[in-house]
Amino acid sequence: MKTGRCIFLVVLLMAGILLLPSFAQAFWGFGGDASRERSGLDFDSGYDRNTETTLRGKVVAIEQGEGSDPVMIMVRQGREEFQVVAAPAWYWSDGGISLKPGDELVVTGSKAQGKDGKIYLISRIISNLSDRENVTLRDESGKPGWHGGTRMRHGTAGGQRRMGGGGRRR
């Protein structure tokens, strides 16, 4: 009976190890729950000018992150949907433009397809055509304002003005 118990414990141990969240993620490639982990993309400082493009569409939903989580804006263009990655929540709350579902947006940014199959646009400039506001989050090379790049700039139909932001605060 002792041998049977040993086999039983070994099998249970193996099953437990294989299903441990960290091990499962490494072994099977699942287990993370944040979109950043699911997509496999670098939303914080990642940018590639090769894939820079401009798209126009309507805001479907806005996901306000917390702390260093990025603010995500779901934009629909025709039948396609894009996940627009704006800026870390703390940076966006300092002076990001106001957005609401239904607003017409023009976004310039680096396009990437995540491991989850979704199309992401890591934004450089976001223009809200409905409120005639725009915000620049990265400089032309793609360096983000929260990492010492161009500071967050707001623009209106009458021109652009500087807003807060700058280096990383936290």
């Binding site: 039983f8 490639g29 090769n50 820079e52 493009t53 397809q113 890591i122």
Partner: protein
């Protein structure tokens, strides 16, 4: 005692081997599918890049200004660029990069050896893409076409294979856990079946034994009485004379009948308790004279305060049987050691002698009634011990036996446990 090899006999071993073989086969199959999926995805991407290169070349030939490429879009294309031999960008899907120079040298083999260079690389966004650099001819000019393709759709085969591996391993793990459960269940069922068979056999034996014992008891008393009368009449008290032999054999038969009656008697679960050290002391006192006569040293190491569930007289019979067996195993002298200790809510009594031991082939049958290795034994002593101990909720077992001695262990639950 059960022979440990019988449980893991050849059918169980064969079954285990077959299960391991099948598990390995399924695991290997799943892993092989996964391994083959990677080159398959690469082939898909290679095929796609060749098709797109051909399309771009056609457009470039038709329109050497490359203006026609402006509307060239496909779902899997991350970006495309046409480079001259210095790495200067002649066309790019991001128009603002035209005229700049690429920072890498991956396009160089296109011009040096006219070959296509392809492989996976990572973009600044963190996305893994498939990049091919291939030669394109337009208006007598050779250019390097750089195509960057999203890998998500091509990698579907890899994700599918990974899912298959996960499913196969999950099923295998579940099957093994269930198998172990079933195995344990079958072992318990088998033990239960054997116990039921044993009890049934004992019940039949008991009925028969009780009937015989009652029939023998009365005539035996008469035979013994007349033999004793004959001894007194002849005045010969020697066991060697015929009347003495009849008395001795009658007494032996009487013991057998008494043992048989004890063995077949239905005993209710004990309601009383006994101080086990006192029981052991009394039992040791009763064999002290015989032990001294046989030059056997008796030692005891007894914890004093343990109170066990059971009838003191019946428990005394258990230890007397065990001690007498030990003495009989040491005709030329030796030592008998008794140890009493408390362990996990039970009193554990260990009886160790330095006798001739029990042959290994008999270990599994020592508690079976009417099985004895002695010429004049009844074979009921240890069977009675087992019955009384189990009636008290305890366990008796032969721990070890060799030519240097035998050790029995009796475990009795403590009161209130």
């Amino acid at each position: 005692m059960k022979d440990p090899t019988s449980r893991y006999g050849s059918p169980a071993l064969w079954l285990l081997a077959a299960a391991i073989f099948l598990s390995s086969l399924l695991g290997w199959f799943a892993a092989d599918q996964y391994r083959n999926a990677i080159p398959l995805a690469e082939e898909n991407l290679r095929g796609l890049s060749l098709s797109l290169s051909a399309a771009v070349e056609t457009l470039a030939v038709k329109d050497p200004s490359l203006f026609a490429l402006k509307d060239f879009r496909t779902r899997d294309l991350a970006y495309l660029a046409l480079l001259d031999r210095d790495g200067k960008i002649l066309y790019h899907s991001n128009n603002s990069l035209v005229g700049t120079t690429v920072p890498d040298q991956r396009f160089v083999p296109v011009f040096s050896s006219a070959e296509t260079v392809a492989g996976r690389t990572r973009l600044g966004t963190g996305e893994e893409i498939y990049e091919s650099n291939s030669p394109v001819h337009s208006s007598g000019q050779v250019m390097a076409l750089r195509l960057a393709l999203h890998t998500y759709r091509a990698d579907a085969v890899i994700r599918r294979a990974r899912l298959d591996v996960f499913v196969v391993f999950s099923l295998l793990t579940t099957a093994w856990i269930m198998g172990v459960f079933l195995y344990r269940f079958s072992l318990r069922a088998e033990a239960h079946r054997q116990e039921m068979t044993r009890r049934e056999r004992l019940a039949q034996l008991g009925e028969m034994g009780a009937a015989i014992a009652h029939e023998i008891r009365n005539p035996l008393s008469g035979i013994k009485g007349y033999a004793q009368l004959l001894q007194e009449t002849t005045g010969c008290q020697d066991d060697g004379d015929p009347a003495g032999l009849i008395v001795a054999e009658s007494l032996r038969l009487e013991r057998l009948v008494n043992d048989l009656l004890v063995f077949v008697r239905t005993m209710p679960p004990p309601v009383s308790s006994a101080r086990i050290a006192d029981v052991l002391h009394r039992s040791l006192d009763m064999i002290a004279a015989d032990a001294e006569g046989q030059s056997i040293t008796v030692t005891a190491d007894l914890v004093d305060h343990l109170q066990v569930r059971g009838n003191g007289d019946e428990l005394q019979q258990v230890f007397l049987n065990l001690f007498r067996n030990a003495l009989q195993a040491m005709p030329g002298g030796g030592s008998l050691h008794v140890r009493l200790r408390s362990e996990k809510g039970a009193a554990v009594i260990e009886i160790r002698d330095t006798g001739h031991g029990i042959p290994e082939q008999e270990w599994s049958r020592v508690f079976v009634p009417f099985v004895t290795t002695r010429a004049r034994g009844t074979g009921l002593g240890l069977a009675i011990c087992r019955k009384i101990v189990e009636q008290c909720g305890g366990r008796i077992q032969l721990v070890a036996s060799s030519a240097n001695g035998t050790t029995f262990s009796v475990m009795l639950p403590l009161c209130g446990k």
